[in-house]
Amino acid sequence: MGIGLLLVAVAVTAITGNEIAGLVSASAVGSGIQFVTGFSLLPTAGAFCSPLVGLKRKCQAPTMGGAKRLYLALTEDILNEFLTYDLAKTSGEFAAIIPMVVGKKWIEIEAWYDTTKFDTEMKIGGGFTQSVEFKVIGYDKEITKLMALLYEAPVNVIIQGNDDKLYYIGQKYVPMMFEAKGVMPEKGTSRKEVTFTAKQDGLQVPVFPLAATATFDVTPLAA
């Protein structure tokens, strides 16, 4: 239909020698067709956004916070950007094996109990933000080594919540970078501890749930 209107405009312009007359005639023919048939060249309502999907209230399912396990991987060891906005919009979870470079695995961090937390935000025009925090208690050579290894190291994070569900934090190309603060208190009433925090904005997705069918390789913790 668009080509037909273009031909009308060209023909009228050629006959009359007036470009304005050509454009007006094409516009008039288009309006006439729309009036008679109801067909429009322009998209109608809902063409610019994905249709919304309703959300059903969920009762009697544990939704408590807290986390039991924490895994990290270098972003360079992740094979590709498998978490996308399209996946978030359609499935809302990832349900397959996490694609890793051959031979690369996730490592586990045994954070102290009830210290791991994470959150996510949605910003208009700014995508999503994600953040994660965990604590390890004491201050020794292993913690020093972890701090040094995580210094300016882009990583992705998987957390297993106390609800046993898995949550993925970060993206391959928008990774998390940890900062750490070690506290050596002045009195015996407080404990030595190191808090690791990472916050990232401009992500394409919020914190991403992993389905029960998601799997990944893990390096065993040294005894």
């Binding site: 895994y71 349900a95 397959a96 094996i97 031979g103 695995k105 996730w106 586990e108 297993q160 046993d164 029960a212 069918t213 998601a214 799997t215 990944f216 390789d217 893990v218 390096t219 065993p220």
Partner: protein, 56 residues
């Protein structure tokens, strides 16, 4: 019969809330891994038949 093939002696696999060694995976878990796209899970019977019919 599904089988997990790897040369990695220190591999743990996170599956259904647990980290398991390849040897301790059940047939159901192996089927789940295969369904989720893990190419290291192979059908031992099909592989054996393929080996038998292939020319030497």
């Amino acid at each position: 019969m599904l089988k997990f093939e790897t040369k990695d002696k220190e591999l743990l696999i996170w599956v259904n809330g647990l980290t398991k060694t390849p040897e301790s995976l059940t047939q159901e878990e192996l089927a789940q891994l295969q369904k989720s796209g893990d190419t290291r899970v192979i059908d031992a019977k099909a592989k054996k038949e393929l080996t038998e019919v292939s020319p030497a």
